[in-house]
């Protein structure tokens, strides 16, 4: 899976960090979301999906194109 975050939509709520701290962070300068790991491993899938749901501004998207068959 490939993770993308739209900085224009991000309101720095940090909910994504709470869900998946290994994948997301806030940039110190802009205060906006940064993706630490664009292609996280499968064991992070649930955490990333939680981040997608819990981002109040729908700033995070996940491409299913590279979905691994577990």
């Amino acid at each position: 899976m490939r993770v993308r975050a739209d900085q224009r939509k991000c309101q720095a709520y940090a909910n994504c960090i709470l869900a998946a701290p290994d994948v997301f962070d806030l940039d110190d300068a802009s205060g906006k979301v940064v993706v630490l790991e664009e292609t996280p491993t499968d064991e992070r899938r649930a955490a990333v999906q939680e981040a997608v749901r819990n981002c109040p501004t729908q700033a995070i998207t996940v491409d299913a194109e590279t979905r691994h068959v577990a």
Binding site: A14, D25, P56, Q58
Partner: protein, 423 residues
């Protein structure tokens, strides 16, 4: 085959919990008809920005919409907006709508949220505002643009955010709180006092232990009268004294309702009826029942209830709902995050000059944590809250999370806890 595709799920309440539930129904492979009934005429919108970006004018109405309009056709959901459910008949598996229609369902999901609680002193005077709906937020915004003298009654989360936003818009703002400190009920007195100080630092006047006796004015509000005889002049009064679950329409339905729709641990209120979000009270494994009024709970519980609803149609095992609740609040440009449950055992730790971590414990075990401008520390504490880790482990985690740590000096000796130095 046809019988399956004809199954109908009705979701009542078209906001965070209801929309999340509809998405989860489709994600989970529900192929029957989905009908979403919502009392408000607007497309489903989000509430947190109403006291923040929308009120401040940084966002317009379009930006508070929960989903783009096209999403609902993608989801193949029938929207019934501007229509209220007026009653439920569990045995007939039908709800009645205020347009005279009766809707039958195979499964019902109740997500009617909550409405502001109105204290007895509130009268319909011009200048008196509530804040729950988009219309109310827009009305309040245009009033605030005139730079009125603002009095906020109730220093809970919404009251505190409105006070901060109004102050940011250049208004003179006073917050009246009945308890000894802001947000004391949710977070404890020591933490409330600390957060209350954010207000004073930004020029918001906070009056605690203030009991409101009434509103002064004839047609238009002029002041708030306190029980001690004093008056606080006001052009705009915002009543932020909490909400109660929207369950009036369920009277006589045969469901157990007591400060929320009572559900079992599977979000089930009756065999074919589920509930989620602000309206739902559910049984924890300890037997204690809880209700949570936060955004992420509405999302997660809406989804969870939908998944169990689908499982029930296929005779599959339903999963208990056992979340670690979570919320955030933005005040004066500062970020408050909270995970878990608060308790009277609160320990405040400083990460540096401005950032703090609060550990809530029960019997030396971590039950909750709050951070001010330190979401990363909270992310690290979250799994510890979930497994009720020993407090010592939580302290060690905080010590690993931040640089300099000092105890926070508390004024007036309000803090009931010794301030411990970590690391």
């Amino acid at each position: 085959m046809t019988a399956r595709s004809k199954r109908r799920a009705v979701v009542v309440g078209a906001s965070v919990a209801g929309v999340s539930a509809v998405e989860a129904l489709r994600d989970g492979g529900f192929e029957g008809d989905v009908i979403l009934v919502g009392a408000e005429a607007h497309m489903p919108y989000d509430r947190p920005p109403l006291s923040k970006q929308l009120l401040a004018g940084a966002w317009d109405t379009e930006q508070v919409m929960l989903r783009p309009a096209a999403r609902y056709s993608e989801l193949d959901v029938e929207l019934r907006l501007g229509v209220s459910a007026t009653s439920l008949d569990v045995s007939a598996r039908a709800i009645n709508l205020d347009n005279g229609e009766a809707l039958r369902y195979d499964r019902l999901l109740i997500a009617t949220g909550a409405n502001p609680r109105l204290p007895g002193f509130v009268r319909p005077l011009e200048g008196v505002h509530l804040l729950r709906t988009l219309g109310e937020a827009l009305g309040l915004r245009s009033a605030l643009l005139r730079r009125p003298r603002v009095v906020v009654i109730g220093a809970g989360f919404i009251g505190s955010e409105v006070a901060a936003t109004a102050r940011g818009m250049g208004c003179e703002v006073t917050v009246l709180e009945a308890l000894a400190s802001p947000m004391a009920q949710a977070l404890g007195a020591a933490v409330g006092e600390k957060l209350g100080r954010l207000h004073s630092e930004h020029g918001v006047v906070v009056v605690c232990n203030a009991t409101v006796a009434g509103l002064v004015g004839d047609g238009v509000v002029e002041a708030v009268q306190l029980e001690d005889g004093s008056r606080v002049p006001a052009d705009v009064v915002i009543v932020g004294t909490g909400v109660s679950p929207a369950t009036a329409w369920l009277e006589g339905a045969g469901l157990a309702v007591s400060d929320g729709v009572e559900c079992d641990q599977f979000c089930r209120a009756a065999p074919h009826v589920y509930a989620a979000g602000d309206v739902a009270r559910w049984a924890q494994s300890t037997g204690k029942s809880v209700r949570v009024e936060h955004w992420t709970n509405a999302v997660e519980q809406g989804r969870h209830a939908a998944h169990n609803l689908i499982a029930s149609l296929h005779g599959l095992t339903q999963r208990p709902y056992a979340p670690t609740p979570y919320f955030w609040s933005d005040q004066h440009g500062r970020k408050i995050h909270f995970v878990g449950w608060s308790s009277s055992e609160a320990e405040i730790l400083a990460l540096d000059e401005t950032r703090i971590v609060v550990l809530y414990a029960r019997d030396e075990r971590l039950c909750g944590a709050l951070t001010l401008d330190a979401p990363r520390a909270l992310a690290m504490l979250r799994p510890l809250v979930a497994r009720e880790a020993p407090l010592a482990d939580a302290r060690a985690t905080v010590a690993a999370a931040g640089p300099a740590r000092r105890p926070i000096p508390m004024e007036n000796g309000v803090s009931p806890q010794p301030h411990r130095l970590v690391g």
